[in-house]
């Protein structure tokens, strides 16, 4: 069920401002791809174009091709809503729905789409998703309590469970651990390791060690110059990027000798 993503010649604009310039890359299925780069270089913007989430921002648009297993998600007859149930997303800040219980949060994707579901099916889906997110043991006795009562790390895993419950083929993660403590980070990283057997995972991170720990391939983004659009500098096996990158720019960033 994991799918390959092929991006070619993608430009992203906010109004007239070109934010990300000419990105082409291939994201392999059943693997973890990390995006690294300084703040404001367009990694998150680019990530959001992979499920057309950028369209939520007024004025944002993308030009180019994003193929999801040979299907161009930007072709005019494609419904962005369908794209998003195929390509799920986890955000920087855990955002469980405050009006819903833990249980309802997990099946929110199905409920909000008004899918008819038997009680037993719903129960199974909730358990399966929460087990998948390594959260079941911690919350199984309080499924009817509000999701906002959980700790930050638990909330983030709840959001991951919620995202996986709609059975996407790709999971995008926008700095999912940046607000978490090391223990919770470890829990989420373990989860990413486990999930890559079933999903294509793309993760944006500012934490270089994290990129090295969890990812198979790494892409380095950078601004061409201050005030200029961001671009993809280099992409390759994580090992290679972190030990002998092709570009000097990449090496400078990785080793901390930036600028």
């Amino acid at each position: 069920m994991a799918k390959r993503i092929d991006v070619s010649g993608l430009h992203v604009y906010y109004g007239d401002f070109l934010a990300v310039e000419d990105v082409s890359m291939t994201i392999e299925p059943r693997s973890v791809t990390a995006f690294i780069g300084s703040s404001g270089c367009g990694k998150s913007t680019f990530l959001r174009t992979l499920n057309r989430m950028h369209e939520v921002t007024p004025g944002a648009r993308a030009e180019g091709k994003v193929l999801l297993d040979d299907m161009d998600i930007y072709s005019p007859d494609v419904d962005p809503v369908m794209v998003r149930s195929e390509v799920g997303m986890v955000f920087q800040k855990a955002n469980p729905f405050p009006t819903m219980s833990i249980y309802d949060n997990v099946i929110a994707g199905a409920r909000l789409n008004n899918k008819r579901m038997k009680k037993s099916e719903a129960d199974d889906l909730v358990e399966e998703s929460l087990r998948g997110a390594n959260l079941w043991e911690e919350v199984k006795d309080r499924l009817n309590k509000p999701g906002s009562g959980l700790s930050g790390g638990q909330q983030q895993r709840l959001c991951i469970a919620r995202a996986t419950a709609v059975k996407p083929s790709v999971l995008l993660m926008d700095e999912p651990c940046s607000a978490l403590d090391p223990i919770s980070t470890l829990a989420v990283e373990d989860l990413i390791h486990k999930m890559k057997e079933d999903y294509t995972i793309v993760i944006v991170t500012h934490n270089m060690q994290q990129a090295a720990r969890v990812s198979d391939r790494t892409a380095f983004f950078n601004l061409s110059a201050p005030g200029k659009p961001g671009k993809l500098v280099e992409m390759g096996e994580t090992n290679k990027i972190f030990t002998r990158p092709d570009k000097q720019e990449t090496e400078n960033y990785i080793t901390g000798r930036f600028g």
Binding site: V56, G88, F91, K93, F97, A108, L112, P146
Partner: protein
């Protein structure tokens, strides 16, 4: 950093003198006593003069003492604190006075009988009759106005927050603001004209009153709902979109439930704004209904504010008693509505744990 920080040439004194924490209360009591004593000595005691002089003397003394003991910044703090408390008391005075007066005069006639009978067959000067028909009218007219205004208002707010962009949005917001400023009697005249066209001259009924009230209510509902919808974090909308949920379902299932408590409060404030409207109801629902009338579309309908107005105009002692008791009834109705809104709001509010 290579420069070393120089130690300060002289030790800073971190300690300052400070007034005892009961000093302000004691001083206020002392001022009140002294001022009362002086006024009584000149046998010119008056509550207003006493209050003003007490406040002024307290402010002067507390600032002077504080400037001496505590220093300039603390003295300014004392001055501003005194001003703020003074303004608070000033603001509370009319409220307390109104409640006190209404309770005092209203309780004379306020009883189960007054609440449960209408004025049907009661001559204005008779020692009988009640306000039941006006309660019925107020509830029916305000209820219908709410049923009209809330869907229109909330949907307009949803449109403004979630969909509208650019010039269309600015235009709508401008007209909502203009609508907020419409004097209530003009809203009444609008419905009078409308009814004239639709049903001919002289037709007055509860529905006309409800529509004139909804003209006043819609902009209030729009503005308060808009604020509440803007408070819903964008994160939640994005979380919902990211699950493949369409926009309209995101609005109905995530945005509206999350803001339900705030929306309820806003709607209640809008109801409170119109439930005491008199002028448009005099024009549209009539002033002469005496019998219980639940039918919004047939015949005149009394309401509490118009009842008060009509009774005061009659001018007899018993009429004034009825007017005061009706005023008390109106206040109680509004308070009950607020209480109800609080309960509903608590029911909807996102639970923390």
């Amino acid at each position: 950093m290579s420069t070393t920080t120089q130690p300060p040439a002289t030790e800073r004194e971190l300690r300052r003198g400070s007034l005892h924490r009961h000093f302000p209360a004691a001083l206020l009591a002392a001022c009140a006593a002294v001022v009362a004593g002086i006024l009584l000595a000149f046998s010119s005691f008056g509550l207003v003069v006493w209050g003003l002089l007490t406040a002024a003397s307290y402010a002067i003394v507390v600032v002077a003492v504080s400037a001496g003991v505590e220093g300039g910044r603390k003295a300014k703090d004392r001055l501003v604190t005194t001003l703020v408390y003074g303004c608070f008391v000033l603001a509370m005075l009319p409220l307390v006075s109104v409640l006190w007066t209404v309770l005092g005069y209203g309780l004379d006639r306020f009883d189960g009988y007054f609440l449960s009978v209408s004025m049907n067959g009661v001559l204005p000067s008779m020692d009988a009759g009640g306000v039941y028909h006006a309660i019925v009218g107020t509830l029916a007219i305000t209820g219908m106005a709410t049923l009209i205004s809330v869907p229109i208002g909330v949907m307009t707010a949803v449109y403004l927050v979630e969909y509208a962009r650019g010039r269309m949005k600015k235009t709508i917001m401008f007209f909502v603001d203009v609508m907020t400023g419409i004097p209530s009697i003009v809203a009444g005249l609008f419905v009078v004209a409308l009814w004239m066209i639709l049903f001919g001259p002289g037709v007055t009924n509860g529905a006309a009153g409800a529509i004139s009230l909804s003209v006043l209510m819609i902009p209030v509902v729009v503005r308060s709902s808009e604020e509440m919808l803007r408070l819903v974090p964008q994160d939640l909308r994005e979380a919902s979109y990211a699950l493949g949920v369409p926009k309209w379902r995101t609005i109905t299932k995530v945005v509206l439930p999350t803001s339900a408590a705030g929306l309820t409060t806003g709607i209640m404030l809008a109801i409170a704004r119109v439930i005491g409207e008199t002028a448009p109801l005099i024009l549209t629902a009539g002033t002469s209904a005496v019998a219980i009338n639940w039918n919004l579309f047939d015949g005149q309908m009394m309401s509490l504010p118009v009842f008060i107005y009509a009774q005061v105009r009659m001018g007899g002692a018993v009429n004034y008693e009825r007017a005061w008791a009706a005023a008390l009834t109106l206040i109680i109705v509004v308070m009950l509505l607020f209480f109800l809104a609080r309960m509903i709001g608590r029911l909807f509010a996102p639970k923390a744990r």
